[in-house]
């Protein structure tokens, strides 16, 4: 099994892992402008050297509540352009080895052990697709129905 080089994203009490190839940079405490009428998963917009980047609530995208305070924005090179994921703590690089098990969350591909915690490996292509952003709840319902 190939190791996964990942950026660990603390979001509340959870830990998520972003394949490091997807990460472009980390911005500390970005100045945010709320985007009126946007879905709840959009926390706001920020200026990244002249580019307007939407910041997404990582927890809300995964159906795990809401991020309360944005400490860092991890800028991702998505297929549809730049987007950023909010974290509540400092992102850190880590090599992940063998998966500890499957993940139940849509937009993730498996669980990896990180110390005493398990980090869900994110699938940014699925997580940051326009369909997911438009209606994450519907997709979650679909997933849970399928499971059930």
């Amino acid at each position: 099994m190939t190791d996964v080089h990942a950026l660990l994203l603390p979001v509340g009490t959870d830990l998520h892992a972003l394949p490091v190839d997807w990460a472009r940079e980390v911005v500390a405490g970005p100045t945010l402008t709320p985007l009126a009428t946007a879905p709840q998963v959009v926390i706001g917009l920020f200026n990244l050297r002249g580019q307007i980047v939407p910041l997404f609530d990582t927890a809300a995208l995964l159906g795990l509540g809401r991020v309360e305070t944005v400490a860092f924005a991890v800028v991702v090179n998505s297929a549809h352009g730049l987007a950023a994921l909010a974290t509540t703590g400092v992102p850190q690089r880590r090599m992940l080895d063998t998966p500890a098990g499957p993940s139940d969350l849509p937009g993730t591909t498996g669980l990896y052990q990180v110390g005493r915690q398990a980090a869900a490996l994110l699938d940014p292509a699925a997580l940051l697709s326009p369909e997911r952003v438009r209606d994450p709840a519907a997709r979650l319902d679909l997933a849970s129905n399928g499971d059930g």
């Binding site: 985007l35 917009l45 002249g50 307007i52 939407p54 998505s78 292509a125 326009p130 952003v133």
Partner: protein
């Protein structure tokens, strides 16, 4: 002529196919993991469908057939007749590999079938494409630059402008020096403005850059189907952002294919119903204000709304009580096809929903107008993005917002207290909601914060801003007016869903982000939330009723312009007739006078100048006011217009609803 060589077409197709095949591969791998995901199945189907169509246009019949075979397989899955299994994904992946190999081979060699004959390459008499501009300077003066470099250049210019504005603020704050009094600072500002304009201009391309592909498609498809189609293109020098045009080119190609495949009848059928055996398929592009309109129209059989309705019902869509226009709109639903037969080009319900999605991704909209037996017109209306728009900056619910100035009719302060306040119990009301009086007409008003759904935005303390869309006016209460400013509007990230109330965003001098609102979207939303039932069309005032008795003759050979002007003036309360050129207009005026004539200049048979002269020379028409609306913007043309006796002159690129209605009212002495 500017016809693309077959090699160039195949090269472009190969570039497109590379991206599509990569995406197809990704989708298939995801499908294997998530076999029940219907959205994924639909995406796979669309990739294959687009590859098939594009390959046909590029003359790669074998590739097109392979894509069609694969599409048939996915259609089985889509219809629920075949499950997604690993074997099925194997088959599709192998098919995608075959497509890739076939495309690579054809790019190097090119199939014999794709070689057009000399006859094919010769322009026909119906070729109305404009000749390319003279190239006296020669091709040696052009260099190819990767688009990414231009985009980066524009971004850096924007950053530099922001930094320069910050320096100006620092001069003021720290050194108490007004930057406007510093000659060097002003010179830098001018240079940066020029640089910004040129950087943006460098990313604009004429619509003609995509029409060669369309023309070839028209030729090939009409030949394959035994149809006689005359291709007409106008306004091809209209420029728009390269990225927007690239996004739209697929959509326009879909519309052209659809028109030939199931809009235009066979020559025999056309003759049977009294039409010329040769059909007309027109592409017309134009800039109107800050928008570009691309219209694809045909004189075919029109869309069969009964068929669309049946298709919609089959998909479980309730169509009861829908108007003709709403039924036409159903054709943009996924799975609804306007074709009676499935062919290898269209008719699977793929296309119009994709068109709508891609146009909306470019922050535009698509409209369809169709009349049975007469023809169909699709209009794609998109903003010229990466453009600088003059905006009115306002504050609502404690946040700043920008409103594109060309949609602002007026802003007016309210009385500090009392009956005129729109947010008080004793405010003026009409039809169950608060209104403000604008030039004698009641216009509904709502707090902008409420329209945007902002917390604490239900009330407002400051002035009202009256906005106008193509069909409505609505006032919005704000907390204060901040000022006017040029804003470089950037489209929001495609990751975000389309937000109907947001046109884009700009970066402020201090680095913060300013959200630019979309007035037509705001008006629509306010009309929905303000009150259920009736629309927000203002009640006609005594003056407006007076205006309704006035008649206007609109003269323009372009259908889209004619209909736009007709719509605008009818909504403003005028009786409107239309004529297609100067001679036609004179004939109509001879039968019945109009109170005012709005005319284009460039028209067949008799142009607008000659028409104006003829009106002035005619004893009973000489006093009829004439307003010229033309794309000719030179001082000489405007002077000539005045010399021949026109009373007003509006340049089409600066034309919008408000300017037209204002000019017409002024010339007729009507209080707007």
């Amino acid at each position: 002529m500017s016809g693309m060589s077959p090699e160039r077409v195949r090269q472009l197709f190969a570039q497109e196919a590379e991206v599509r095949l990569a995406e197809l591969g990704r989708l298939l791998l995801r499908l294997e993991q998530d076999a029940d995901d219907e959205t994924l199945v639909g995406s796979v189907f669309r990739e294959l469908h687009t590859l098939k169509g594009s390959a046909a246009v590029a003359g790669l019949d074998e590739v097109s057939r392979t894509a069609h075979d694969l599409e048939e397989v996915v259609e089985e899955v889509r219809a629920g007749r075949r499950p997604v299994t690993a074997e099925l994904v194997d088959t599709l992946l192998r098919g995608a590999d075959q497509l890739g190999a076939a495309i690579s081979g054809s790019e190097a060699e090119g199939p014999a079938a794709a070689q057009p004959s000399a006859v094919d390459q010769a322009p026909g008499p119906a070729d109305t494409r404009p000749d390319p501009p003279p190239t006296a300077t020669g091709a040696a003066n052009f260099i190819m630059v990767p688009a990414e470099r231009l985009e980066e250049l524009a971004r850096l210019v924007g950053e530099t402008t922001s930094a320069q504005l910050r320096v100006g603020r620092m001069l003021n704050d720290r050194f108490r020096v007004d930057p406007a009094t510093v000659a060097e600072f002003n010179e830098l500002s001018r240079s940066l403005n020029d640089l910004r304009d040129h950087a943006m201009r460098a990313q604009m391309v004429p619509v003609s850059t995509v029409t060669d592909q369309l023309r070839r498609a028209v030729r090939d498809i009409s030949r394959a189907q035994g149809k006689d189609v005359r291709w007409e293109a106008a306004g091809m020098d209209t420029e728009m952002d390269r990225g927007v045009l690239r996004r739209l080119s697929d959509s326009v190609l879909h519309l052209v294919r659809n028109a030939i495949d199931h809009g235009i009848e066979s020559p025999e059928e056309r003759e049977r119903v009294g039409k010329p055996s040769q059909a007309a398929l027109r592409l017309h592009a134009m800039q109107l204000g800050s928008e570009v309109i691309i219209a694809v129209s045909d004189d075919g059989r029109g869309i069969n709304t009964e068929l669309v309705e049946r298709e919609a019902n089959r998909l479980g869509i309730d169509t009861e009580g829908l108007s003709h226009q709403e039924r036409l709109g159903l054709s943009f639903q996924a799975g609804v096809s306007t074709a009676q037969f499935v062919t290898d080009l269209s008719g699977r319900g793929v296309g119009l929903d994709v068109v709508r999605a891609s146009v909306e991704a470019a922050h535009g909209r698509v409209e369809v107008h169709s009349e049975p037996g007469v023809g169909t017109e699709f209009r794609i209306i998109v903003p010229i993005t990466v453009a600088v728009l003059r905006c009115l900056l306002v504050e609502a619910a404690g946040r700043p917002f920008a409103l594109p100035f060309h949609r602002v009719l007026l802003s007016q302060a309210q009385e500090p207290s009392g009956a005129d306040r729109a947010d008080t119990a004793d405010a003026a009301r009409a039809e169950g909601r608060p209104v403000v009086w604008v030039d004698g007409s009641p216009v509904p008003v709502q707090a902008l914060g409420e329209t945007l759904g902002l917390a604490g935005g239900e009330t407002f303390e400051g002035p009202v801003v009256v906005l106008a869309s193509a069909s409505r006016r609505h006032a919005f209460g704000v907390d204060r007016l901040i000022g006017q400013r040029d804003v470089i509007i950037k489209a929001l990230s495609p990751v975000l869903p389309r937000l109907p109330l947001v046109a884009g965003a700009g970066v402020e001098p201090d680095g913060s982000i300013l959200v630019v609102l979309d007035p037509p979207g705001l008006i629509q939303q306010a009309a929905r939330t303000g009150r259920t039932g009736r629309t927000s069309m203002p009640t006609a005032s005594a003056e407006a009723v007076g205006a309704a008795r006035r008649s206007v003759l609109v003269v323009d050979d372009a259908l889209v312009i004619r209909e736009l002007q007709r719509g605008i003036l009818e909504r403003a309360g005028f009786d409107v007739r239309v004529a297609t050129d100067g001679q036609h207009a004179l004939r109509m005026l001879g039968q019945e006078r109009s109170d005012l004539v709005v005319t284009d200049i460039e028209m067949p048979r008799m142009d607008g100048f000659a028409l104006t002269e003829a009106i002035r020379a005619h004893p009973s028409l000489a006093n009829t006011p004439v307003l010229i609306v033309s794309s000719r913007a030179s001082d000489a043309d405007q002077q000539r217009g005045m010399d021949v006796g026109a009373d007003g002159y509006i340049i089409k690129s600066a034309f919008d609803e408000a300017s037209l209605v204002t000019a017409v009212n002024r010339l007729l002495g009507v209080k707007a």
